[in-house]
C-alpha cells in the first residue's frame, strides 16, 4: 500500500515533468526560462574533406560554448542556449542523405552544412521536407538556384560565397591586372569543381578571354597525381592555369606545377589560403592568385581596409586565447552559423525556425566572419570576396571585396540569384 509520502513524491515528480515539458526548461532560480536550441551539423568528419568539416564543427562548438558560458542570450523573455550535434556526411551524396535523415530523426531545429556541394545538394530536399532551415557552406551555384527551387528549400541560405562570388573577381583580376586571357582549366569532377570552372569561364569570356581547351575534370576522390594534366597544360599555349580542388589536391597540383617547371600564371579557389596548404607549399605558392574570403586583419594588404570585419577579429581572438591557434575560414562556417542564428533570433524575438529564417532573408545585415552582409531572396549571401596572392610565402591581400563590382563590373546581386 502506498504511503501518503510516496504519493506526494510521485505528484511532485509528475508536476516537475509537466513543467519541463511545457516550458522547455526549469526557471533558473526565479530568472527567465532557459531554452535550448539544437543545431545539427551535417559535415564531412571523415574522408577527403574531414579536416574542413572538423574545423567547421570546431568553430560552431567554440561559438556555442562561449555564448553558453556567458549565460546564453536573451530572446523575448527567455534565455537561449545552443546545443551542437553532428553527423558525418563524408562529402558524398549517399552518406550525406543518411546523415540528413539522422539529423531529422534527432529533431534538430536548424542545420549547418554541408561543406561539400554534392552532399549539400543531396541533403537540401530532405531538410526542406522536414521544414528544417539549412545554412549551407558549399559553393555550387544550384544550391541557391534551380536545386533550391526544385526542393522547395525556402528556408535554406548559403552563409558564404557561391562559385560566381569567388570566380568573378579572380577572372577579372587575371584579365584586367595580370593580362592573362588564355586559360587551361582543371578541376575535380564534382558539382563544386564544375560550378567554379563555369563561373570563371563566364567572366573570362565576358572580358575577352577564354579557355584554350575544354576543362579537364579529374576523378574525386582518388586523384593524387596531376602531372599528366599539367603536362597538357604546359603544351597548350595558355597564359595561365585555373585549378579547382580541395586542399590535398591543391597541394599536389601546386607542387607538381613547380616540379614540371610550368611558366604560366596560376589561379585557384580560396582553399589556397588554408593553413595546411600554406604549410605544405610555402614559398612555392608565390605568385599564385586566389580569392580571399576571410580576413582577420593580420595579413599584409595593398589596399586600405574599408569594412571593420568585427566578427572575424572576435573569432580570431577567441581561437587564439582559448584554443591557442589561428582561426581559419573553415572555422568561420560553424562560428558564422551560430552567430547568424543568434542575431536573427534576437532581432526576431523568437527561436521559431521559420520566423528566424524569414528574418535572415529580410535583407537585414548581419555581422559574420566573412564581413557584414545580408541575404538575397534566393538564399545567397550578398557578400563579395577579394583577390590575394603569396609573396615570400606570406598571404598578401591585393584587392578588397568591392573589386568585382568596380567598373568594369562583373558581378552584381542579380548575377547571384538568376531567374
Amino acid at each position: 500500500m502506498r504511503t501518503r509520502r510516496s504519493v506526494l513524491v510521485s505528484c511532485s515528480a509528475a508536476l516537475v515533468g509537466v513543467l519541463l515539458l511545457a516550458g522547455g526548461g526549469l526557471p533558473a532560480t526565479g530568472g527567465p526560462a532557459v531554452e535550448t536550441v539544437t543545431v545539427g551539423f551535417a559535415l564531412p568528419l571523415s574522408g577527403a574533406a574531414a579536416r574542413e568539416g572538423q574545423e567547421s564543427l570546431e568553430g560552431a562548438q567554440l561559438a556555442a560554448r562561449l555564448l553558453n558560458e556567458a549565460g546564453g542570450f536573451r530572446v523575448g523573455g527567455r534565455v537561449v542556449r545552443f546545443e551542437i550535434i553532428s553527423e558525418d556526411d563524408r562529402c558524398a551524396p549517399a552518406p550525406a542523405t543518411e546523415a540528413a535523415n539522422r539529423l531529422v530523426a534527432r529533431r534538430v531545429q536548424f542545420v549547418g552544412g554541408s561543406f561539400c556541394s554534392s552532399a549539400a545538394l543531396a541533403q537540401q530536399p530532405i531538410f526542406a521536407q522536414a521544414r528544417i532551415p539549412q545554412v549551407i557552406y558549399a559553393y555550387a551555384t544550384d544550391l541557391t538556384g534551380a536545386a533550391r527551387q526544385r526542393a522547395g528549400a525556402v528556408l535554406s541560405v548559403r552563409l558564404g560565397p557561391q562559385a560566381a562570388v569567388e570566380m568573378a573577381p579572380l577572372a577579372k583580376y587575371a584579365v584586367t591586372v595580370n593580362n592573362h586571357r588564355r586559360f587551361f582549366a582543371m578541376a575535380q569532377n564534382t558539382d563544386f569543381g564544375r560550378s567554379m570552372i563555369a563561373e570563371f569561364r563566364r567572366v573570362l569570356e565576358r572580358l575577352g578571354g577564354g579557355f584554350v581547351a575544354e576543362p579537364e575534370f579529374y576523378t574525386f576522390p582518388g586523384t593524387t597525381d596531376f602531372r599528366t594534366i599539367l603536362t597538357k597544360a604546359r603544351g597548350s599555349g595558355a597564359d595561365a592555369l585555373v585549378a579547382i580542388g580541395l586542399v590535398g589536391e591543391m597541394i599536389g597540383v601546386s607542387l607538381q606545377f613547380r616540379e614540371l617547371g610550368l611558366a604560366m600564371g596560376f589561379y585557384g579557389s580560396d582553399l589556397l589560403e588554408d593553413p595546411a596548404y600554406q604549410d605544405a607549399v610555402g614559398a612555392r605558392a608565390d605568385g599564385f592568385f586566389y580569392p580571399w574570403v576571410y580576413d582577420d586583419g593580420v595579413d599584409r594588404r595593398r589596399f586600405t581596409r574599408v569594412e571593420p570585419e568585427r566578427m572575424a577579429r572576435e573569432m580570431s581572438l577567441a581561437f587564439l586565447n582559448i584554443l591557442r591557434k589561428r582561426a581559419t575560414r573553415n572555422h568561420g562556417w560553424g562560428w558564422g552559423t551560430i552567430h547568424l542564428l543568434k542575431q536573427a533570433m534576437e532581432r526576431e524575438g523568437s527561436t521559431e525556425p521559420e520566423r528566424v529564417m524569414r528574418r535572415v532573408l529580410s535583407g537585414a545585415r548581419f555581422d559574420l566572419p566573412f564581413g557584414t552582409y545580408g541575404f538575397l531572396p534566393c538564399g545567397q549571401a550578398d557578400m563579395r570576396v577579394g583577390v590575394a596572392t603569396y609573396v615570400e610565402g606570406r598571404r598578401t591581400l591585393l584587392v578588397d571585396r568591392d573589386f568585382a563590382g568596380r567598373p568594369p563590373a562583373v558581378l552584381s546581386a542579380t548575377d547571384l540569384c538568376p531567374r
Partner: protein, 290 residues
C-alpha cells in the same frame, strides 16, 4: 602533341605505375600464400607515410633512414595483424578475413585521425627541388629515387622468391600447400613472413610517395582500391601479374588522360581490366582456377 610531351606522359605513367606496383605486390603476395584479400595494407601505406613524417620532422632522422624505419614498423604491424586477427579467423572461411581486413583498415584509419589529426602532411624531400631535364622531359630527383628504390625492391622480392630457400618455400606453400606441409615446410611461419614482407612494401610505398603527395589518414583507402583491382587484373597471387598490371593500368590511365580527357582515365583503366578479365578470368598472368 610533340615527342617531348609524349615522353613526359610516359615518364608520368611509369611513376604512377611504380606506386601501384609496390602496394599491389604486397597484396598479391599475401593472397597467393594465404588467400587473404588484405585491405588493411592501405592503412599500412598510410602509416608508412606518417612514420616517415614523424621520424624526419620530430626525431630529426634522415629521410633515407626513415624509409627503412617505416618498413620495419609496418612490417611488424602486418605480422601482428596476421598472427592475432587473420590466422584465428582464417579457419572459419574467407568472408571473415575479408571483413576483418576492412575492419582493420577502418580502425587504423580512425586511430590515425585521432592521433595525428586530419591535417594534410607533406615530408620535405631530401632532394628539394632538384630535377633532371632532358629535352624538355622532367624527372625530379625524388621521382628518380622512387623509381630506383621500387626497381630494387621488386627485383629483390623476385630474386628472393626465386632463388632463396624461404622464397622457394613460400612459392611451394602458394602453389601446393598440402605437399609443402608434407615435406615439412612450416606454412604458418611462412604466412607471417609473407605478411611482414607485404607490410614492409606498403610502408615503403607510403614513405616514398609522401614527399610528393600530401597525405592524411584517408590516403590508404584510396590507394588500396586501385591496387586491389590491379591484383585481380594481373592475376591474384601472381607477382609478375601485379607488376605488369600496375604498368598497364598506370599507362592506360595516363595516356587516356593525355589524349582523351582526365575524366575518362579511371573509366579506361577499369574498362581495360574488364575486357582482359572476360578473355582471361584468372587475370593477365594468373593461374586458371581448378
Amino acid at each position: 602533341m610533340d615527342l617531348t610531351t609524349a615522353l613526359q606522359f610516359a615518364v608520368n605513367g611509369l611513376f604512377i605505375s611504380a606506386a601501384y606496383a609496390l602496394v599491389a605486390l604486397g597484396l598479391t603476395l599475401v593472397f597467393g600464400v594465404l588467400h587473404i584479400a588484405d585491405f588493411a595494407q592501405g592503412a599500412l601505406y598510410m602509416l608508412g607515410a606518417y612514420v616517415s613524417f614523424y621520424a624526419t620532422q620530430r626525431l630529426g632522422l634522415s629521410y633515407f633512414v626513415s624509409v627503412p624505419v617505416a618498413m620495419g614498423l609496418t612490417g611488424a604491424l602486418a605480422t601482428l595483424n596476421g598472427a592475432l586477427v587473420y590466422r584465428p579467423l582464417q579457419r572459419h572461411g574467407g568472408a571473415l578475413t575479408f571483413i576483418a581486413a576492412l575492419g582493420i583498415l577502418l580502425i587504423l584509419q580512425n586511430l590515425a585521425l585521432w592521433l595525428f589529426g586530419g591535417d594534410f602532411r607533406l615530408i620535405a624531400s631530401p632532394f628539394q627541388e632538384g630535377k633532371i631535364t632532358a629535352g624538355g622531359v622532367v624527372l625530379t630527383h625524388h621521382q628518380a629515387f622512387v623509381l630506383g628504390v621500387t626497381a630494387v625492391l621488386l627485383t629483390g622480392v623476385w630474386f628472393g622468391l626465386r632463388y632463396t630457400k624461404p622464397g622457394k618455400a613460400l612459392r611451394a606453400v602458394a602453389q601446393q600447400p598440402e605437399a609443402a606441409r608434407l615435406v615439412g615446410i612450416d606454412s604458418a611461419r611462412l604466412g607471417l613472413a609473407a605478411f611482414a614482407l607485404a607490410g614492409a612494401l606498403a610502408g615503403a610505398a607510403g614513405a616514398l610517395m609522401s614527399p610528393m603527395r600530401a597525405f592524411d589518414p584517408h590516403i590508404g583507402a584510396i590507394v588500396i582500391l586501385k591496387s586491389f583491382a590491379i591484383v585481380i587484373f594481373g592475376g591474384m597471387g601472381s607477382i609478375p601479374g601485379a607488376i605488369v598490371g600496375a604498368l598497364a593500368v598506370g599507362m592506360a590511365e595516363t595516356f587516356t588522360a593525355a589524349y582523351l580527357a582526365a575524366e575518362f582515365a579511371d573509366l579506361a583503366s577499369f574498362a581495360l581490366m574488364i575486357v582482359v578479365l572476360f578473355a582471361r578470368p584468372q587475370g593477365l598472368l594468373g593461374r586458371a582456377w581448378a
